[in-house]
Amino acid sequence: MRKSVFLPIFFVLVVCLYMSFVWADDPTPTVSKSGGTVGDSKGAASYAVDKELKDTHVELKIPVTGEQPGEAASESKGTAATPAVTEAKELKDTHVESNDPTPVEQAAKKASESESKSDVTAYAVNEDKELGNNNLEVETPSVRDPFQSYNRGVFVFNDKAYYYLIKPVYKGYNKVVPEKARLSVRNFFSNIRMPGRFLNCLFQGKINGAATELARFIVNSTIGVGGLFDPAKSQFHLDRQNEDFGQTLAKANMGPGFYIEWPFLGPSNARDTLGYIGDIAMDPLSILAFFINPLVPGGASGYNTFNDVSVDGGDTYESIIKSAVDPYIAVQDAYQQNREKKIKE
């Protein structure tokens, strides 16, 4: 009976593994050089084409429609790049392959080169590698999103579920349960889940991190009354090591794979989904589920997730949504950037 539960999980795991290797075959993520290409010899026009055609693997870029080759060159500065870009859009549908630099491309190149000369000062930031976080030059790896229409559907569903189901419930819950109690619930579950963080620290070769987790567990389980409080942080300044299996996989050079929005769980990607399954396997609650009764720990785990949202007050999610022009992309990008940061740490 119990084995039947693990069959679908195993299936998902295999699919994810397969997919993430298929999609992440190139270990260096495709980088988008938004804005930063101005100073490059590549030129803005051909860059835009690259980006357009990334998924279709079209090498280049000949005018299919009746664009006159010389036209781009005669365009005034600043608009010269536009024809090539529009052509790229048209090309997307036609899948033409060619490596010959066409007159249009050369013209566009020339135009963007001359442009880059006059515009050097504005984008001088590109040479400034020292600080490492100038955004024109810190290239956001583009997100692979082959299932975007499905993802957008789930995104809408999750958004509605959040506003109409989860939010009203936690508003009531917050009124009944004082914040201190909610924090204790969070601490308690966080303490129980120490093995996952401990193991992931080890997997990533973070011996100090693993030692910190061990020390935190000992302190919080004893002085912290079975994990209800977090004296390890408040008294001993031992910070929780938020390492998960997705980060471990990333450290082992696995690419993020495709982006996916799971119902209720929210944004993820192929690698982090696999990581999530790995984390479940390392979660003592799932071991309890295996040996006792899957409902109790499952419910407990769900309650913990809900409690976390109630502590946060949904602020993180809501503030991203509120300030976004395209909320789906905003959440996707925020997820991506946040994961990148956690992996780097």
Binding site: E52, L131, N133, T140, V311, V325, D333
Partner: protein, 205 residues
């Protein structure tokens, strides 16, 4: 050892300051930022401006204190990325205005729920005209949020051009959105969506 290095760094820094930029009176980016944050917090803590009925007044006062430290043109330029230079001067001006409004609504609106959060300056890095100031927000329940500010020195004035919250760069986030919209539709559509966003915000206020 560390101390000696620091002393060395400081003396080099001081001599560089003395000999090369004796004319620039630029305030240190970190100091400037923290002063602005303090000014903002003073407004938020002001009893005369607290409560929901004073929301508009408080937002106005806060905006007056902090808007001068943001470089909205630089932000717009970076958020549009490669598309910026294809725009005419009028379009650029319109875009800066629209984007400023969106940022204002988004981030000033956030302060309505201010609840005694503390801001701590962690460190600042500076390299010629660029600087990053790393801070930490500490909420009442002890949650810590890493907030970094990217700043640019524009003829002696340090201004923020990006805010990075827990690794999420605000400008990169908008650039992803704008790029995505511009891949599928013309620039006019982006402007339209931004206008809708602003009117929607004012409607809910």
């Amino acid at each position: 050892m560390k101390c000696r290095k620091m002393m060395l760094g400081m003396s080099v820094g001081i001599s560089v300051l003395l000999f090369t930029s004796s004319f620039s009176l630029a305030m240190e980016p970190g100091k400037l930022l923290m002063e602005t944050v303090d000014k903002g917090l003073t407004v938020l803590k002001e009893p005369a401006l607290s409560g929901t009925e004073k929301t508009q007044e408080r937002r106005q006062a806060l905006w007056k204190e902090i808007s001068c430290v943001f470089n909205f043109e630089e932000m717009s330029k970076r958020a549009l990325g490669q598309h910026w230079k294809k725009r005419s001067p009028e379009e650029k001006k319109e875009f800066v205005e629209l984007f400023t409004n969106i940022l204002k609504d988004a981030y000033i609106g956030k302060t309505d729920t201010y609840n005694g959060e503390k801001v701590v300056l962690l460190r600042e890095k500076q390299d010629s005209d660029y600087a990053v100031v790393q801070t930490k927000f500490i909420t009442k329940n002890g949650t810590e949020i890493a907030v970094d500010y990217s700043m640019l020195n524009n003829s002696g004035e340090w201004k923020i051009y990006d805010v990075i919250i827990e690794g999420v760069s605000m400008i990169n986030n908008y650039r992803s959105q704008f790029n995505n919209i511009l891949l599928k539709s013309p620039y006019e559509n982006l402007v339209k969506r931004m206008q809708e966003k602003t009117t929607e915000e004012t409607a809910t206020q």
